[in-house]
Structures are given as structure tokens and as C-alpha cells.
């Protein structure tokens, strides 16, 4: 596949992530912060997000497994996850966290567990999608091309 085709494929793929609501405008903002002096900025931030999220998801799961569930602690973790997902533009993860926090407030353990599953699902989805996106970018760069800036009208 030649570079032009790869670039089209990347553009289509990226657009689909926005259309499906998996990513929002904040992701575009991150891309705008990347330049020749910081060519790996997006990958770096997203990697921090992955590390942070996995730790939080584990902490939440462990807290929900306790005999006496500490909803305040869980809420704090979900709040953190909501914040970082919002900062990278992982819209569906963020929305799942918003729903989760409502059940934490109600101290509803069963619904909280369901929410955790939902958040995990959305998280692994965005992780998968972003890893694919970065791979497509790498392939273009390896073939000597440049990664085009996506222009979207909302």
C-alpha cells in the first residue's frame, strides 16, 4: 500500500472514531499540541492515560470486592478516571464514569459493579482503537510519509 492510501485509511479511521463518539474534540486539541519539537506528545499522554486507568480500574474492582464497600474511595477513583479520560478525549469512558458516580452516591453496590464493567468495556475499546490508530501512523512514517492533521467540522 502506498503512502497516499495509508493516509486516506488513517483519516477515515480517525473520523470513524469521532463519529462513533469514542473520541471527542479534546483529542484533536492534543494533536494540535504535537509538533516537530514534540513529535510523540499524543502517544506519551495516551500512554500515561492507559497506565493511570488500568491502575484505577484495578483499585475500583478491589474496593468493590470488599466486605464493606468504601463508596467514597471508589467515587474518588472514578472521579480521577473521569478527569483523565476527559483530558485525552476518551468521551465514552468519561460518560461511563459520570453514570458510575451517580451509583456511588447512591451507595448501590450491584449497580456499581455493572458500571465498572461498562467503564472497562469502554476503556478497552478506546485503548484498542487508539493503539490501532498509532500503528497506522507509524506505518505512514515508516514509509516516509507524514501524518496529516485531521480537519473535522462539528
Amino acid at each position: 500500500m502506498e503512502v497516499g492510501q495509508m493516509q486516506s485509511r488513517l483519516a477515515d479511521y480517525t473520523k470513524s472514531l469521532f463519529m462513533e463518539g469514542i473520541l471527542d474534540a479534546q483529542f484533536l486539541q492534543l494533536q494540535q499540541l504535537q509538533d516537530e519539537s514534540n513529535p510523540d506528545f499524543v502517544v506519551e499522554v495516551v500512554s500515561l492515560f492507559f497506565d493511570d486507568s488500568e491502575k484505577l480500574l484495578n483499585d475500583i474492582a478491589r474496593a468493590l470486592d470488599q466486605q464493606c464497600v468504601d463508596f467514597k474511595k471508589i467515587d474518588a477513583h472514578v472521579h480521577q478516571l473521569k478527569g483523565s479520560s476527559s483530558s485525552v478525549g476518551a468521551q465514552r469512558v468519561k460518560n461511563a464514569c459520570v453514570a458510575f458516580r451517580n451509583f456511588c452516591e447512591e451507595q448501590n453496590a450491584e449497580e456499581s459493579r455493572r458500571c465498572l464493567q461498562q467503564v472497562k468495556q469502554e476503556y478497552y475499546l478506546v485503548k484498542n482503537k487508539l493503539e490501532t490508530l498509532f500503528t497506522l501512523e507509524q506505518q505512514i512514517v515508516a514509509a516516509g510519509g507524514s501524518v496529516p492533521m485531521i480537519e473535522l467540522s462539528f
Binding site: 486539541q29 514534540n38 499522554v45 483523565s84 483530558s87
Partner: protein, 217 residues
Amino acid sequence: METARQVFRRNLQENVEVCDGSPELHVLAVDDSLVDRKVIERLLKISSCKVTSVESGTRALQYLGLDGEKGKGSVGFDGLKVNLIMTDYSMPGMTGYELLKKIKESSVLKEIPVVIMSSENILTRIDRCLEEGAEEYLVKPVKLSDVKRLKDFIMRGEGKDSGETRIRKRRRRDDHSSLPQSVTLSSSPALACDPSSTLMPSSAPSACSSKRAKLCI
């Protein structure tokens, strides 16, 4: 005898570094989230600001020399003057609000503008922060346009009476069709205070008008 303001202005001119002919702002960013620290650092650096980022209010006060040691003014322990503090609101231990209070209660630090950042759009929280002396309340995620606006405001504010300048700035902003996100609680400046906009949270329109009325005094 010099007033505190004159001393502040003189110190600012002495300590602000010059880069390409224009002075560089030094911003102290406080946020417990590693992801957010990385993003805010980049936003500030790309806007030609120097950044020092710390993970807590306690660390921020240590950096500013306000943790029990004799205050060195708004000069960080590495010798760099701080021109602006941007702090997250929700942090474990000391919240951004508590940090704001401590700074405003300090005779050596109270002149430093403090901006609060928060993912939560809660009017009472916003009011409380502004009343305590916060320059702005930015709803996260913070954008490049927010940082640019802040930088312009801080740079223009130097050397003038900060009180008058602030009121003037807010009035002028109110005249613009695109209102700043932090003041009008909108997620998109172009849609600020437009009740018909679907992007606006339902509580926002009334919040907007009350906020505006307050700031136009």
C-alpha cells in the same frame, strides 16, 4: 517609601526572563493527575511560558517557600519568580481552594494571580473561588485558547492597577460575541450563553446571567 505593588512590579521586571524580546511568564501548575500535568505543561510551553509543575498544594507551598520557612516572596526555591499559579480544584489533602486561600492570606504571595481548574461546573464552587480572589475558574479540559487568553491578561495586567484592569478586562470580554469559557460556563466559547445551544448544560443559562450581573459591577 515603595508600596507593595511597586515592589512587586520592580521584582517582576527584574526577574522575568526575556525570550525573543518578549518576557516569559513562569507558571506554577498544581495538579494531582499525571495526565493533566503533562497536558497543562505542554499547553503552557507551546504558549511560550516557563512551567514548574507539582502534584499537590503542599508541594506548591514548599516551592513558594511558604511551608514554615521565611517567605522569599513569589520566588520559587530554584530562584525563578512565579507570575501565575494554575491549580486543580479537587486534589487529595489540600484542595485547590485551600491552596488559593493560603496564597491570598500570605502577604508575600497574595499578588500572584491564581487560576482554578476543575472538571466540575458547580456555580457555588465557582463563586466561592472567585470570591476568595481567584482570577478565573477554568472548566477542564483546559484548552489552548484558555491559556492564550490567560497569558494575554497577565501580561497586560503587569504594571497597571490590577483591580481596575480586571474589571476592565471582564467588561471588554462581555462585549465580545465569543465569551470566555470559564466565566460563562460554556464548553465552547462561540456558543457562550446561548440558551438554544444543545451543548449547554441545562443549568447554565441562569448561571450565566447571574455570573455576568455579578462581574459587571
